[in-house]
Amino acid sequence: MALGDPHARPSGPHRAHGLHSGPAAADVPPFAGDEVLPCGRLLSRVWEQARDAAPADDPRTASCPHCREAVEGLATVNAATRALRTEDTRGLHALADRVMSIVGAEVRPGRLLPLADPDRDLRIAENAAAKVLRQAADTVHGARAATCRLVPEGEGTDVRVIMTLAAALDRPLRDRVHEVRRAVLHSAVQDLGLAVSAVDIAVVEVLEQEPLLRPGFPTGGGG
């Protein structure tokens, strides 16, 4: 990976030459305190390249004693850095638990929606219902719900479901969206007891190749 590094571009004429001259130092302004090596390259660029590119991708540094010396000058720092890089996950679980307990105390239930039972005046919080409906959409292979809003319609108990979706393109989108709509509608009516007037679905994102999802087996994709 050599993002933003001008030296990462293959520069034909310089290829396969040991010592190099030319525009390396001249075509880019040096940083404050930079240094031009005897071979003409800037110290800052040699360091960048050494850190950003695999050694095999940088034959110029490998074959130039000045560049090599400059890179070796950072070896001690690099060795000590490795220990800092080691991720320490010991405190992570406790930390996640603390965060989620604070988050849990700050629930955002959203508006209350009527269930299809006007006599008893039953209601459900929008976000609780949205969560169930997202999960229903997620059961469709190659589909993942993004946003889900529920909007009361008219004077009665009707509710409109408005959902955005990420979907894979390995089969016709129309069929998949149809299947999602059916799953959402079924869950809204059967699981929640909502009176659904419509389920609007917009596909807003293409899902990368679906990992192997088997019924009843959640993937372990997130590690």
Partner: protein, 196 residues
């Protein structure tokens, strides 16, 4: 109907583990805690590493990351996805660390320098005492860097972020990031001279 697995069981969050950050962030913004919990677990450990390098102490780092996540949860409904969730989280955490440092400037004693993660001691060959001392020296040198240089260096060398993302996190430009990185490398190289 196939695969009817709708249930508010703990599996609910497992089901989302393959989801990309953007989708989880959208769900979390609508109040879905399970999606947020996945984001916390996914990014917590690299943010902890960042905060540990910034602040020196594991306890302070945990506090900073906890505050950063809680702040993110509160701000998610207004989060406009102009940046990747990860970039946004890095920015919140860096800012949180800076605030904490202002509140209590770190005394630079040996026991507050960044402790190398000890959790891996079982899985790696024991590091030599010399290597530990070199790491402690690097941490002290890091603490003395200009704060802008320190942030850029940690994000690049420890977290492995590309220049463009570092520029987003720090609200600067890529040339600025690269200039700061160079000066940081230079200072650290000088500080580590005795260890060569």
């Amino acid at each position: 109907m196939t695969e009817r697995t709708v249930s508010p069981s703990p599996e609910g969050d497992l089901l989302g583990r393959d989801l990309p950050d953007g989708l989880l962030a959208v769900r979390a913004a609508e109040g879905d805690e399970d999606s947020f919990a996945i984001l916390v677990r996914r990014h917590g450990s690299s943010l902890l590493t960042l905060a540990r390098c910034m602040l020196g102490s594991p306890q302070d780092a945990e506090e900073a990351v906890q505050d950063a996540f809680v702040s993110a949860w509160r701000r998610l409904p207004e989060y406009r996805h102009s940046a990747e969730f990860r970039t946004w989280m890095y920015r919140i955490t860096v800012n949180r660390c800076l605030t904490m440092r202002r509140r209590r400037p770190p005394p630079l004693s040996l026991d507050v320098v960044v402790e190398p993660a000890a959790g891996d001691a079982w899985s790696q060959p024991a590091r030599s005492a010399e290597q530990d001392a070199a790491t402690a020296a690097l941490s002290r040198a890091l603490a003395e860097l200009d704060v802008g240089q320190r942030i850029c260096w940690i994000l690049r060398e420890v977290e492995g972020l590309p220049y463009k993302e570092i520029a987003h996190v720090t609200r600067t430009s890529e040339p600025t990031v690269r200039g700061r990185l160079f000066r940081a490398r230079r200072s650290l190289q000088e500080a580590m001279g005795p260890w060569r």
